[in-house]
């Protein structure tokens, strides 16, 4: 074991963590916003809204994220007619893909709010959208938060896939250092450890929020 290789390359490797965090923030933020819209649309009674959105969700949930990254990387320049930088392509792919997963969590969350709440909202004169915005979503979000946190941890891990289109995020940099220094064992154990610490914090938070929710219900 040669721990020195990590110390020597620490600034370079941890610089990648900044890009990883950026990707994760965009993916989680954008995915969540789009996911809420899609999740609400899947509960809509309007067929022109329900069917296309359901097709969207089933479509992306049937594909590997890696393939979606490539696919959009090839597709977007063809549609817009100009080339796209790798960061934008990766962020768009993450948002489009993770929104499908987020929408399922949102849908389950909205369904967990009792029907009476919706009726009460509507009967007090709010429109359907207003009821959703001011009555249903605030309650639904609370039940959803643990699953949203857990899935955000998954997205944080998924950002490592961005390296396939050339982004030098954390894992890619570890990979590059390994190519130069040939210290695979130390470097990948170290990479695993860093992810483990960061993700455990996320998982732990999710678990705690879940327990809190359960206590509130009892």
């Amino acid at each position: 074991m040669d721990v020195d290789v990590i110390v020597r390359n620490a600034p370079f490797i941890f610089g990648g963590l900044y890009l990883t965090a950026q990707l994760a923030v965009f993916a989680i933020g954008g995915g969540l916003v789009l996911g809420i819209l899609l999740g609400a649309a899947r509960l809509s009674r309007q067929p022109w809204l329900y069917y296309p959105v359901s097709a969207y969700v089933h479509f992306f949930r049937g594909l590997p994220l890696l393939l979606v990254i490539f696919w959009l990387y090839f597709l977007i320049p063809v549609i817009t007619g100009r080339s796209l930088n790798e960061f934008a392509a990766a962020v768009i792919a993450f948002i489009v893909y993770e929104a499908a997963y987020f929408s399922e969590i949102v849908r389950a969350g909205i369904q967990s709010v009792s029907k009476g709440q919706r009726m009460a909202g509507l009967s007090s004169g709010l429109t359907g959208v207003q009821t959703l915005r001011h009555v249903i979503l605030p309650q639904a979000l609370r039940t959803m938060v643990p699953s949203l946190v857990t899935h955000s941890v998954v997205i944080f891990q998924d950002t490592s896939l961005a390296y396939v289109i050339g982004l030098r995020e954390f894992l890619r940099r570890v990979n590059l250092v390994d190519a130069r220094e040939a210290r695979s064992l130390e470097l990948y154990l170290f990479a695993g450890l860093v992810y483990f610490i960061l993700c455990s914090a996320g998982t732990f938070t999710g678990k705690r929020l879940e327990r809190k929710n359960r206590e509130r219900k009892v």
């Binding site: 479509f59 049937g62 594909l63 590997p64 994220l65 890696l66 393939l67 490539f70 696919w71 090839f74 597709l75 320049p77 063809v78 549609i79 817009t80 007619g81 100009r82 941890v153 891990q157 998924d158 490592s160 896939l161 390296y163 396939v164 894992l171 990979n175 390994d178 695979s184 064992l185 470097l187 990948y188 154990l189 990479a191 695993g192 992810y195 483990f196 993700c199 455990s200 998982t203």
Partner: protein, 242 residues
């Protein structure tokens, strides 16, 4: 609009030599996922059992396994098995490994994918086992079975039927995750689609075709498993919608 200017050439999907590469890629995706799934199921049941049985060290090991895999990206595991794991062996052992296993990347992919999926399968089995009423365990013990027999004849068959829908989802996750083995050089369908682009500049066509392959297989599995679930569901259990 760029879409009008783009000259589609779908013949890259069947033209020699690309057509054969695509077929080869599909086969690699399918058998790699199936072998990894077999490994995941065996290992996953084992760890699921470890987490619910009374022996404490076993429970700790099972919990640690699941925590480690859940909190690290699959890609790290692949890189570990491909780049790092052989280094644990002495020099002569490494040589022997590369000599006897010519497509080492493939088997590193199988091992990585199998062990990673096992942690997810184990979680499903654990929740399945713990949702089985304690009376089932007591009744099994009372009829004179040992712990191994209790699990083998009562808990596992029962738990399996309970969690079949989520197990189907896990299989599809395993199937989709197989795409990541391209990062260590395995020529499965995602890799093939990307690879053909570097000769033809028609990656849009090949990745579209690869997407259709994944969707066709995923939806077929869902349809078949829906029928299987209907057949094996436990009478009296509330069926989950959806």
């Amino acid at each position: 609009m760029g879409l009008l200017n783009y000259h589609f050439d779908w013949s890259v999907l069947w033209r020699a030599p690309y057509g054969q590469m695509m077929i080869q890629g599909i086969f690699t995706t399918v058998h790699l996922s199936l072998i990894a799934w077999g490994l995941a199921l065996v290992l996953g049941i084992l760890i699921g059992v470890l987490r619910t049985q009374p022996w404490l060290p076993g429970r700790i090991f099972g919990a640690a396994y699941v925590q480690i895999f859940r909190n690290t990206p699959f890609l790290v595991h692949l890189f570990f098995w491909y780049y790092a794991a052989p280094l644990i062996l002495p020099e002569s052992g490494q040589q022997w490994l590369y000599d006897t296993v010519p497509n080492y990347a493939y088997w590193a992919g199988v091992a990585g994918l199998g062990m990673y999926t096992a942690s997810r399968v184990a979680e499903q089995f654990r929740s399945g086992f713990s949702s089985i009423p304690a009376d089932q365990y007591r009744a099994a013990y009372a009829s004179g079975l040992r712990t191994f027999q209790v699990y083998r004849w009562v808990i596992i068959p029962y738990g399996f039927r309970l969690i079949l829908p989520t197990i189907t989802t896990e299989f599809l996750t395993c199937f989709k995750n197989s795409a990541l083995t391209m990062t260590i050089g395995v020529m499965e369908i995602t890799h093939t689609a990307y690879y053909i682009d570097s000769f033809t500049w028609h990656g849009l066509e090949t990745t579209t075709a690869a997407s259709l392959v994944y969707l066709t297989i995923a939806w077929t599995v869902i349809a078949v498993m829906g029928q299987v679930e209907k057949r094996v569901y436990i009478p009296g259990q509330i069926r989950k919608e959806g």
